[in-house]
């Protein structure tokens, strides 16, 4: 018989290394002769979209269009250390490092422009794409390329190196209390499943995922991460099993180590929750890992709602579900 159930999973997640471990993201921003802003950060793009989101943060902080930003990353001969692409920390930590460096570079660009354009303050200058214009007198302007030459004449280099240090405190060894992380990210997922009580097969029919992101730097990337995270969380709940036996991995290839296919994935409705974090770059927090976590408890709760069994060992295999259903029937 096929039975349906619904479940909810809610999580909070601390960004970064946490627990007092030094968490530093270095970043460098430089105006070059081609009039473009070069941003150097040792942040690794692993498919999550760091390259896009960090370029957007740099453009916003420097006040230029995205095509004026060149992000140099994953090259240790050119980039400072920005820490690992791990702990869901690149958007928040390296994003902050880049934001600070680019904001400072913008101020230095404006100072040179003030000299070159003859205004009394930098407030009177506006960046319009690759031109710096005097407010109220837009014909009086200088391009970023020309500004680079002016700076050279003045003997100035337009290069800023900055570091962002995340707030993190070691927890009390005795009590386990403290403030190990900042900031936290929150998420709640709801799913509906159908459980076949004969075979133990679970079909996830529908998922609604609400993810706090602080601010969505790139909503399409956020949705991509949410759906990918749901697939990984569902895989964790229902499929993935190394099959460790006396230290040996039995399921050592993808014919035995099962992950979901597109035919296993449900319809997913994504809800992006934006509540800007004041310490974050334009309010944006990392979601790399948070997007995965609520799927598993939501699915296990939905299985409980459908057939009244509690799964305490992952994955919730078809065999284990049938065993628990039979155990429950025998008790009654």
């Amino acid at each position: 018989m096929k039975k349906r159930g619904k479940g909810i999973g809610s999580i909070f997640y601390g960004t970064g290394y946490g627990n007092g471990f030094p968490d530093v993201s270095n970043a460098c921003a430089e105006l070059k002769a081609d009039g473009k802003i070069y941003v150097y950060a040792g942040a690794t793009e692993v498919g999550q979209g760091a390259k896009t989101a960090l370029s957007q943060i740099a453009a916003e902080a420097a006040g230029v269009k995205l095509d004026k930003v060149v992000l140099v990353h994953e090259d240790t001969s050119k980039t400072p250390d920005s820490g690992t692409a791990a702990a869901s920390r690149q958007t928040y930590n390296t994003g902050n490092g880049i934001r600070i460096a680019c904001e400072q570079l913008k101020q230095e660009i404006l100072s040179i422009a003030k000299e070159a354009l003859g205004t009394n303050t930098t407030m009177g200058i506006k960046i319009n794409n690759d031109m710096l214009e005097v407010k109220g007198l837009p014909d009086k302007k200088i391009s970023l390329q020309e500004l680079y030459i002016e700076a050279e004449k003045m003997g100035k280099t337009l290069r800023v190196d900055k570091a962002f240090v995340a707030h993190t405190m070691k927890m009390d060894d005795e009590t386990g209390q403290g403030a190990p992380y900042w900031p936290y990210t929150f998420a709640t997922y709801c799913v509906e499943v159908e459980v076949d009580t004969d075979t133990g097969k679970v079909d996830v029919l529908k998922a609604v995922c609400a993810q706090d992101v602080g601010r969505a730097v790139n909503p399409m990337l956020v949705e991509g991460q949410m759906e990918g995270g749901f697939a990984m969380g569902m895989s964790w709940a229902l499929y993935e099993d190394l099959g460790l036996s006396n230290g040996k991995i039995k399921n050592d290839n993808f014919s035995k180590y099962i992950i979901p296919t597109s035919l296993d994935m449900p319809e997913i409705k994504n809800i992006i929750v934006e509540d800007p974090e004041s310490t974050a770059p334009f309010g944006a927090k990392g979601i790399g890992e948070p997007v995965m976590i609520p799927a598993m408890p939501a699915i296990l709760n939905a299985i409980y709602d459908a057939v009244g069994i509690r799964i305490t060992k992952l994955p919730a295999s078809q065999q284990e579900i049938v065993r628990l259903i039979q155990e429950k029937e025998n008790q009654q």
């Binding site: 004969d198 075979t199 296919t261 078809q318 049938v322």
Partner: protein, 294 residues
């Protein structure tokens, strides 16, 4: 590894090649190539039959269908007649492996490789298919039930080649279904599979073939559920009771195995799905009949 490969373009030449000892037939290669890489098999020479055109055809006769041994799963999936008239065979092909495997894997290879989880074998069993087996010295017809002997074992002699699978053209009021259970909805090896063929006269089940895969070392015909179903009314068939009978039959056969606790329960879900599909298809046939009468 030094293996000689023959790639004959005509069948007689392939049969001649097979007269030498220590040879191995290569069809789609989806199993053999992996075993060669792992050095599980070390043949002296390989007879590649993939260039033999006469083994690749699907022939619809007056009474029989003849599938050449090199007909691929993709050929079956793309065949409209099989899709509409023998959906059990179509469903087995469609749900087997990935697209790339479907393009290369052949029905002859699937039968001869004789894996317990091979999806086409329960279907061919339920169709009471005959295998055409040829050698340089002659030809014989053997029921598929006698070709597959156990896990990885078939009845072919070293100089023989399976050349075709032959079975009856479906009649009116004959319905088919195939269901399988795997660890996910695509690209899954069958944990359990069931092929069903039912023939009715005046709404009464007169012939029932229920064949399962992955329940033991080879696909099996399940006699108890078949006799249970005979002479029952198709419209009021109790699929739960039928599933219980199959479950008991499977338990009796596999009682020594640790997997039986799960499989005796799960087989019910698989057979119920297959029987329900048959019942739905039978109703469709009846409804079409009504419309054409009006």
């Amino acid at each position: 590894m030094n293996i000689r490969v023959f790639s004959p373009a005509v069948l007689d030449e392939a049969l001649n090649c097979l007269q030498q000892p220590e040879g191995q037939v290569l069809a789609g290669g989806t199993d053999l190539i992996i075993e060669l890489r792992k050095e599980k098999r070390k043949p002296q020479y390989i007879v590649d039959i993939s260039n033999i055109k006469e083994l690749k055809s699907i022939e619809l006769g007056e009474e029989k269908i003849r599938l050449g041994a090199m007909v691929t799963f993709a050929d079956i999936i793309n065949n409209e007649y099989i899709k509409n008239s023998i959906p059990s065979l179509w469903e087995a092909a469609y749900n087997m492996g990935a697209c790339q495997i479907q393009n290369k894997a052949t029905i002859g290879g699937n039968i001869c490789n004789a894996a317990p989880a091979a999806d086409s074998i329960p279907v061919f069993l339920s169709l009471a298919a005959q295998c055409e087996i040829k050698s340089a010295s002659g030809s014989r017809l053997v029921p598929v039930s006698e070709v597959v002997l156990g896990s990885g074992k078939n009845c072919l002699k070293a100089d023989e080649l399976l050349t075709a699978v032959i079975f009856d053209i479906p009649r009116t009021n004959e319905v088919f279904a195939f269901s399988k259970l795997g660890k996910r909805n695509a690209l899954a090896i069958s944990t359990i599979s069931c092929a069903v063929r039912i023939y009715c006269i005046d709404g009464i089940i007169k012939e029932a073939d229920i064949c399962t895969g992955s329940l033991g070392s080879k696909a099996e015909r399940e006699y108890n559920i078949q006799s249970y179903m005979l002479n029952k009314k198709m419209g009021t068939l109790d699929i739960n009771e039928a599933a219980d009978i199959l479950s008991a039959e499977v338990e009796e056969r596999l009682k020594a195995r640790s997997s039986i606790t799960y499989k005796k329960a799960a087989v019910k879900g698989v057979i119920k799905e297959a029987l329900q599909k048959c019942i739905n298809r039978y109703h469709e046939v009846q409804c079409k009949g009504c419309e054409s009468n009006e």
